[in-house]
Symmetry: C2
Subunit: 351 residues, 2 copies
C-alpha cells in the first residue's frame, strides 16, 4: 500500500508556531468546549493562523486517539450493493442515507468486502473498523461473522431479526407475526378452514416468525391444527402445476406465501395457477406475507408492505444511540408493516 502523494498539509504544531502558542493550546481552541480556559486574544491569534495556513484536522490522528470519526458503515451480505433501484434492498439504503445525513454522519459503503467474497473478516480482518459502527443487511448472513462482531464488542445494528447463539445482537426488523396472524384470522372469517403456508426453504428467522404468526392466528380463529399445512419452496422451479392442483384437491382453499427478494416464487405461482386452470381467488385464495409481485390492471395481491425506508432510518437511529453512549446493546426494535388490501383472497365457496 503506497504512501499518499502530494504536499504535506499543515499540522497543529505549525499553527502553534505561527500563533506563538503551544500545540496543546491549538487543540484547545479547536475543541471549542464551553469551559475551555483560553483567552479571547489567544483564541483570535490561533484562528487567524488556522485561516492563513488552511489547516484541516487530520481524521486519522483523531481516530487513533480513540475518537469517533462520525462515519457509519453499511455492509451487505448480498453479492451486490443495493445502489440499483431495482434491488430489493435499495429502499433500506435510502433510509440509511437519509438518517445518517440528518444526524451528521457520513456513510461508508463497504463495497470492496463482498467482491473479496471473504465476508466481514476479509483480508486484513474486519474491514468494518474504518467506521464507528455499522448497519448490516442481507438475507445470506454469515452467522459466524455476526457472532464474532458481537463478541468483539463492535457496535452494529442488523436489519432483520436474527438469533445468534451465545450473543444477543441489536436489530431492527419488520414485525411479521402480527400481520400474518391477522391474515389467517381474516381468512378464517371468510370461511377458510384448510390453509397452507409456503415457506422459503432457507429456514431463517423471518420464516419462523411468519410460521409463528400463522399458528397464533389459527389458534385465535379456532382452526384445527391438522388443517394447518406448511410446505417449503426453494425457488420458482419448485412450483409446478401438479403441486398447485394437488393443494386444491387436498382441500386447501388458501395459500400464504413467504416472498423471496425477487418474488420469483410468487410470480411462478400466479403463472402456474392460471395455466393449470386454478382461478385466484375463486378456487384458491393467495396472500403474500410481505412484498407481493407488482400489481396489474386486474390484480392487486393481498399482502403487507415492509416499511423499508423507515427501517433503514430506524437502524441508523439505533446505531447512533449505541455510539453516543446513551444505550447499551442489544437494542431491538420491531416495526409494524402496512396492510395492502388486494383482490386475491375471497370468501370460500362451499361445494
Amino acid at each position: 500500500m503506497p504512501k499518499r502523494v502530494g504536499p504535506r498539509r499543515p499540522t497543529q504544531v505549525e499553527i502553534a508556531q505561527r500563533a506563538g502558542v503551544s500545540q496543546a493550546t491549538v487543540s484547545l481552541v479547536l475543541s471549542e468546549r464551553d469551559g475551555a480556559p483560553v483567552s479571547e486574544e489567544t483564541r483570535r491569534r490561533v484562528q487567524q493562523a488556522i485561516e492563513d495556513l488552511g489547516y484541516a484536522v487530520n481524521p486519522a490522528a483523531r481516530a487513533l486517539r480513540g475518537m469517533t470519526v462520525k462515519t457509519i458503515g453499511l455492509y451487505t451480505f448480498e453479492s451486490v450493493f443495493p445502489v440499483d433501484q431495482r434491488d430489493f434492498y435499495h429502499p433500506f439504503l435510502v433510509g440509511v442515507e437519509e438518517e445518517a445525513a440528518r444526524l451528521g454522519y457520513d456513510l461508508l459503503l463497504f463495497t470492496s468486502a463482498n467482491t473479496a467474497q471473504r465476508g466481514v473478516y476479509a483480508k486484513g480482518r474486519n474491514a468494518l473498523l474504518k467506521s464507528d459502527g455499522c448497519v448490516l443487511l442481507g438475507r445470506h448472513i454469515s452467522r459466524d461473522d455476526l457472532a464474532n462482531l458481537a463478541k468483539e464488542g463492535f457496535p452494529f445494528v442488523f436489519i432483520g431479526r436474527r438469533d445468534i447463539e451465545g450473543a444477543e445482537l441489536s436489530y431492527v426488523a419488520p414485525d411479521y407475526v402480527a400481520p400474518t396472524a391477522a391474515l389467517v384470522e381474516e381468512l378464517a372469517a371468510l370461511g377458510h378452514r384448510r390453509v397452507l403456508l409456503l415457506r422459503q426453504s432457507d429456514g431463517a428467522e423471518p420464516g419462523e416468525d411468519r410460521e409463528l404468526g400463522f399458528r397464533q392466528g389459527a389458534r385465535a380463529a379456532g382452526l384445527a391444527p391438522d388443517d394447518l399445512l406448511v410446505e417449503y419452496s426453494g425457488g420458482a422451479g419448485d412450483i409446478g402445476a401438479d403441486r398447485v392442483t394437488g393443494w386444491v384437491r387436498d382441500g386447501v382453499t388458501a395459500v400464504l406465501v413467504e416472498p423471496s427478494e425477487d418474488n420469483a416464487t410468487g410470480v411462478a405461482l400466479a403463472e402456474v395457477a392460471e395455466a393449470a386452470g386454478v382461478r385466484i381467488p375463486d378456487d384458491l385464495s393467495v396472500a403474500f406475507l410481505g412484498s407481493a409481485p407488482a400489481p396489474t390492471a386486474t390484480r392487486i395481491w393481498t399482502s403487507f408492505e415492509i416499511p423499508r425506508v423507515e427501517i433503514g432510518r430506524a437502524a441508523v437511529r439505533l446505531l447512533v444511540n449505541l455510539l453516543e453512549g446513551a444505550e447499551e446493546p442489544p437494542l431491538q426494535l420491531l416495526v409494524p408493516c402496512i396492510d395492502v388490501r388486494g383482490n386475491s383472497i375471497s370468501r370460500v365457496v362451499r361445494r
Copy 2:
C-alpha cells in the same frame, strides 16, 4: 466528540508478545511482501497468534503513518445525495459504486457535508480527508472549494468539465461539442437556415461547450452567423406562448435546448408549443442537447444521451490512477454521447 466505547482490541504488540517476537516482526509478517525476510517458522507462530487473538489491523494507525486506506469519497454539490433513483445524478453513483467495488475500494458518501451547508470546507475544514481521494459531482459547484482542493493537492476527479482559474483540475465529462455540431449540420442538411440555441442561464461550462459545438457545426454547414440565435432560460417559467410564437414569426425553424437536470424547461416548451398551436416538428424542429423528457407513445425527442454510468466508472478509474501514482494530475477525459434518433426534427417546408 466522544471516545469510542467497547473493549480494546488486540494490537501488534500483544501479538508479538504471544508469538515471542518483536512488534516490528509482526508488521513484517502482515505486510506479506515478496521479499520479506522472515523465516517460515516465525511467520507461522505470528499467524497463529493473530488467529488466536483475533487481531485486526487498525486503519487509523495505518492512515496516520501516511498509508492509503482504500477508500474513495463521493461528494455532491447538490443539496441531496443521489441515492434516490429519480435523481438525475443517480446513474453516476451507480457507476462510481461499481468501479470502486471492482478495484477493491470502499465508497464513502459525504452525506453530512451538504446538510451542514458549508460545502467541502465545513466545520473542522475539509471533511474529504477521511478518504484517499474523492469524486465530485453536481452543477452548483463552489469554485472556491474546487480551487482550494486543487491548491492543497488533494486528489480528486470532477464529473463534468470545469475551468478554474489558476488551477487545472482532473475531470471526466461528456463531449457536448461533437454531437451538438453534428445536430446542427443535420438540421442544415434538412434545410434549416435560422436556428436558435436555448441555453441554461447559469453560464456554466457545459453550456459553453454546447454553444461552441453550435457555432462549429454552423460554420461547417455554411450557415450565416446572423442566423444563429442564442437565448437563455432560467427555468420552466421563462418559456411562454408569446416567446415560442415569437421565434416562429422571426423565422426560426429549429430550436436546440440545453436541458436542466429535471428537464422542466423541455417539458414546458413542449406544452407551451402545443397550446400555442406550434406543431413539432412541422412548424418547429426541437432537439435536446442532452437528456430529453421521457418519450411518449407518439413522441421520441431527438437528443443524445449522456452515458452517466460509464462516466461514473471512468471517474473512479482516473482517480485510482492518480492515487496509485501512475499518473499526474490533471487527468482529463471526454466521453462520447449516444445519439437518440427521434421524431422531433424534420425537413423544413418552404412557404
